[in-house]
């Protein structure tokens, strides 16, 4: 029962994710195509457009420094007042970030750093403001999310049945394990040029490689989870007159569910890495494409911030799922 609820939750999460992002992706693309803002060859808004359109003011560095100092003071006061609700660890983490940004901006203010090789926080905020107003940022984020959800869903949908088959039948696993091991060790981006020739330029090669990257961790985790089933549980069910289906549903699936969530997290980290690689090599839309804009440091940092935020959100939700559905004393692997 619990296994059924868990798997239906996962499937619902994925289906809603796909439909949501793909709906917005097409809408966002249309909006972007209808934009009258001047764009360059790669459909990036040209900043000269600012002259004719709305002017976006840069945040004055001193205001930013002042704001950060106020935040710092506020955090300390909040720690004093709500001391019990604030964990020491979270407080130190927050303080570290505030001080980090404060000193980063101050270094630019006193010209210890220059804007050629690295960007000031106010510059990054200004880029954010500009690209959100132009609709450029939304388009890239939605394109990435859509691509990732489709590929990840395909990986999960393929890995669950194949993992269960390979996990249950030891004979089959023995035959195919060496060739799968060879395929696993080929970095997915390496076959990207070949896939571009086979499928043509576009979404298909990228989605294929992301699926390949996310598939193997999930697949192997499910196999491990099934192998970790205690034989006594299966024997008890068989002794009490249960059929093979009963063993599968009541003993093997429940022990594979925690491993499945560990695999999802591992698969996410590899899939996310391959996604950024594929967007750097083969695609002209997505956050991985933003961070490849060479010689525009503020734009690259903007892309890094977005990648970080999306990655943290997905990672935390998967970690929460692992903690919620997984067994409590299971070792989690740091990735």
């Amino acid at each position: 029962m619990r296994a059924a609820i868990n798997s239906s939750l996962v499937i619902t999460f994925i289906v809603v994710g796909i439909s949501f992002t793909s709906h917005i992706a097409y809408a966002g693309q249309e909006t972007f195509d209808n934009l009258s803002a001047p764009v360059d060859t790669w459909k990036r808004p040209v900043e000269r457009g600012l002259v004719s359109g709305a002017t976006i003011q840069k945040i004055p560095p001193l205001n930013f420094i002042l704001f950060m100092s106020v935040l710092l003071g506020g955090a300390i006061v909040a720690k004093k007042v709500f001391g019990k609700n604030f964990s020491q660890k979270a407080f130190i983490g927050l303080m570290a970030w505030i001080i980090f940004f404060l000193f980063w901006e101050l270094a630019f203010h006193y010209r210890l750093l220059t804007t050629t090789l690295i960007a000031a926080p106010t510059d990054i905020l200004w880029k954010f403001n500009f690209h959100i107003q132009q609709g450029y940022l939304q388009m890239h984020v939605i394109a990435t999310l859509n691509r990732f959800f489709v590929a990840f869903a395909m990986a999960v949908i393929l890995a669950i049945p194949f993992g269960i088959i390979a996990g249950i039948s030891n004979k089959l696993y023995e035959w195919v394990a060496p060739s799968l091991n060879f395929l696993r060790m080929i970095p997915p981006p390496a076959i990207l040029p070949f896939l571009i020739i086979l499928f043509g330029i576009g979404e298909a090669p990228a989605i294929f490689v992301i699926t390949l990257g996310a598939f193997f961790p999930i697949f192997i985790s499910i196999i491990r989870g099934i192998h970790s089933t205690e034989t006594s549980h299966c024997e008890v069910i068989e002794t009490l007159g249960g059929s093979k289906i009963d063993v599968l549903v009541h003993a093997i699936f429940p022990s594979a569910i925690p491993a499945l969530f560990t695999g999802l997290r591992l698969g996410f980290s590899v899939g996310w890495l391959v996604l950024i690689s594929a967007e750097a090599v083969a695609i002209d839309r997505g956050v991985g494409f933003i961070v490849q804009s060479k010689f525009d440091a503020p734009l690259v940092f903007m892309g890094l911030v977005i990648i970080c935020v999306i990655g943290l959100v997905i990672d935390f939700s998967l970690k929460w799922g692992e903690r919620f559905f997984g067994s409590p004393n299971r070792e989690t692997m740091a990735v």
């Binding site: 927050l94 303080m95 040029p193 590899v270 490849q292 740091a334 990735v335």
Partner: protein, 290 residues
């Protein structure tokens, strides 16, 4: 000028399909016979796995030979094999393998040294360094290839920029797993060593590292996998990253030389299996010591 779309680079001697199938079957029979005589080295599961690999290669060869798929888009396995032999004979393949492995080994050893050192240090002085955790959490979810443009900006074109991002990719799994491993150290053991008059270094060498080596090796295997993905991406994305197998793949794709593309892919897969099994055997070796 002859109206042909075949790749401009031709292997000097092409193995025929018939001869290739004979070779494949011969190698399979050799493995089967070797299993009879030296079962300790070549066991039954090796023969099973090898037979499936041979079957796949034979099917690939047949698909291309019967022209079910355009042989320009999917060249036959025999052609890829002869291209591998040709590229090896002119010394081109070796230089690309060297370039890739140089970058990977440089960055990986750097990541191993820095990851283990920092991981142990942060666990030792956890009060001072606890703020690092919040930075590490954020930096961990940014994949290393995302730093490529910045690393070219900072380190210039050449191997250095690639080495930087490979280091970044390998570093986090090793670092985080080291921290997780050191957290497993039991205070009783540390206190025992201190009671008998040991200093910090005795604690490190006799308790901390033996407890954490398993996690460190797990981290290195994950890091090596990420390192392979990152080195290939760096070479694919920037032609100035010091050459290498990824560059060879991208360069051949531009020339529509798909035979060479598949040569590069198979070489990378083979090297990946070799490096992974090297780390695996190291793990077994260390386990026998412990």
């Amino acid at each position: 000028m002859h109206g042909t779309v075949f790749p401009p680079i031709e292997p000097s001697e092409v193995i025929s399909t018939f001869f290739f199938i004979v070779l494949l079957f011969g190698s399979f029979m050799t493995v089967v016979i070797a299993n009879r005589f030296i079962p300790a080295v070549i066991n039954v599961s090796f023969v099973k796995g090898y037979s499936v690999i041979c079957l796949f290669i034979a099917i690939w060869e047949m698909i291309s030979f019967s022209e079910l798929v355009n042989p320009v888009l999917l060249p036959p396995a025999s052609r890829v094999a002869s291209m591998l032999v040709f590229l090896w004979s002119i010394g081109f393949l070796q230089s690309q393998i060297y370039a890739t492995l140089y970058k990977l080994a440089y960055a990986f050893s750097l990541a191993l040294a820095s990851g283990v050192t920092l991981g142990v240090m942060i666990s030792y002085y956890s009060n001072v360094f606890s703020f690092i955790e919040s930075f590490a959490t954020a930096a961990r979810v940014i994949p290393a290839p995302a730093w490529l443009a910045l690393s070219i900006l900072w380190f210039g074109i050449g191997s250095a920029s690639a080495i930087f991002i490979i280091w970044l990719g390998c570093f986090f799994p090793i670092f985080l797993n080291t921290v997780a491993g050191v957290a497993k150290v039991e205070p009783v053991q540390v206190e025992t060593i201190k009671t008998f008059g040991g200093d910090k270094w005795d604690v490190l060498l006799d308790v901390v590292l033996p407890t954490a080596y398993h996690h460190i090796l797990t981290g290195s295997r994950i890091g090596l996998g990420i390192g392979w993905i990152t080195v290939v991406t760096a070479e694919l994305a920037s032609p100035d990253a010091g050459g290498g197998l990824g560059w060879m793949i991208m360069d051949s794709r531009v020339l529509l030389d798909i035979t060479s593309v598949l040569c590069g892919v198979s070489a990378i897969g083979f090297l990946g299996v070799v490096t992974d099994s090297l780390l695996n055997s190291l793990e077994e070796l260390v386990q026998t010591w412990g």
